[in-house]
Symmetry: C2
Subunit: 247 residues, 2 copies
């Protein structure tokens, strides 16, 4: 079972109702009763995106929704083309809830084939007003996003390439382990997971170049901390060492 290439995207039955939504138990929708879900259901619409496809461009009218399957990337771009990936959005994550006004504050694109449950913005605002639980779930969600953003600022501003790549791997491994079940299990030696990003995307996420990322991967491999299978499949051989390298 791979993360980046679901066997057949079209074979996945898109959950048409919130009741059967695989992302619900971990998304902001989890706080809603069956009755309240109907209100959301009415303004929800599923959209599919291929890997690499753009969802919205910075400045466009924002898209609002919950990731159901796959993975989205938010990136912010400098006028000369340099860009920084600002966040990775996994299943159950809210997207665009933090865009001020009606305008997207970043480019949004699919890293892997992705299903997004998008909400009508006006309808969502209305739902927020009538469902206090939803509103506070949104606040919670934003808190978590802010904490993540701040963690990443620490990484970008202070960590060196080795620490950056190690941190990245640990975060991803964690996310892969815990995405299926609700139980949080620790990463252990021997765990295998997929990197749903290319080297260029990893580089843009870490504030490095492709080449440096690649070098660190092979460095970790030579030191027996990880084992690469192809370019996107990783086995963690020495969690402790990886943790140490992450600083």
């Amino acid at each position: 079972m791979t993360l980046n290439v679901p066997i057949a995207i079209d074979a996945i039955a898109a959950p048409l109702t919130c009741a059967s939504c695989s992302a619900r138990s971990k998304s902001i929708c989890r706080v809603l009763s069956a009755d309240d879900l109907h209100q959301l259901n009415a303004i929800a619409r599923h959209r599919r995106f291929e890997a690499g496809q753009t969802v919205v461009t910075e400045g466009d009218t924002a898209v609002l929704g919950v990731v159901v399957e796959g993975m989205l990337i938010e990136r912010r771009t400098l006028s000369d083309g340099r860009d920084q990936i600002i966040s990775l959005r996994f299943p159950a994550d809210l997207v665009g809830g933090s865009a001020p006004a009606e305008m997207a504050d970043a480019n949004l694109e699919a890293a892997t084939p992705t299903v997004l449950c998008s909400f009508d913005k006006a309808g969502f605002e209305q739902a927020l007003n009538s469902l206090p639980h939803l509103q506070s779930a949104l606040v919670d969600q934003m808190r978590r996003e802010l904490t993540q953003a701040r963690d990443w600022m620490l990484l970008l501003g202070q960590k060196n390439a080795r620490e950056k790549v190690a941190t990245f791997l640990l975060r991803l491994a964690d996310r892969s382990r815990n995405r299926h079940c609700g139980t949080a299990s620790d990463l252990v030696d021997g765990d295998l997971f997929e990197i749903p990003l290319g080297r260029a995307q990893i580089a843009a996420f870490l504030g490095l170049t492709i080449e440096t990322v690649s070098r660190k991967f092979t460095e970790f491999q030579k030191q027996r901390m990880i084992e690469l299978n192809g370019t996107r499949s990783v086995r963690v051989n020495d969690v402790a060492a990886l943790r140490a390298a992450a600083g």
Copy 2:
């Protein structure tokens, strides 16, 4: 009139009531009616801090409040001592509203003599529940924080030292210009303002070393873009050039 050293901190009459609060018109409190303000007033308490003083340490029970006067710094620290300033909080900014649970997610310290209007956490939660306007103002505030954090990620990950320092100066100048009156006025050549931070703090904010920050300052001065008066007072001679340098 200096930003960092008010003539006499004790001479400032602390606004004891929200009604006379200088920060109200721009803080989250602005959305509340006179009546609703009473509810907040009841749980508010003013606290003063000297420059350099710690307000809370990461992991302590969070402090929640609005900056009335002065400036606070939030910093996150790596185990080996390296640290990154995660945000600067100016008058009217909310502090601690984004801490998950009850725990501060960063160190908070005063950069200049500061007056903080702190709220009782439980009381504030209650106020949030009973005052929907306040809740959505909080969401707005968090949106803005998140946008700022993301802008800074772009800076930390992609900009070089020259761009970082130029960006920093522009941001500060802006903030200084617009802190008194409500009208947003553009920065123009000849504008003078104070830097309420030492070089070490600037460095920690930009992900650079003290020495590099210092070198960029003198570089800008040699190029006639700015003029330093002492170490903390800056005159901007060429806004356009600074903007260009900021990328």
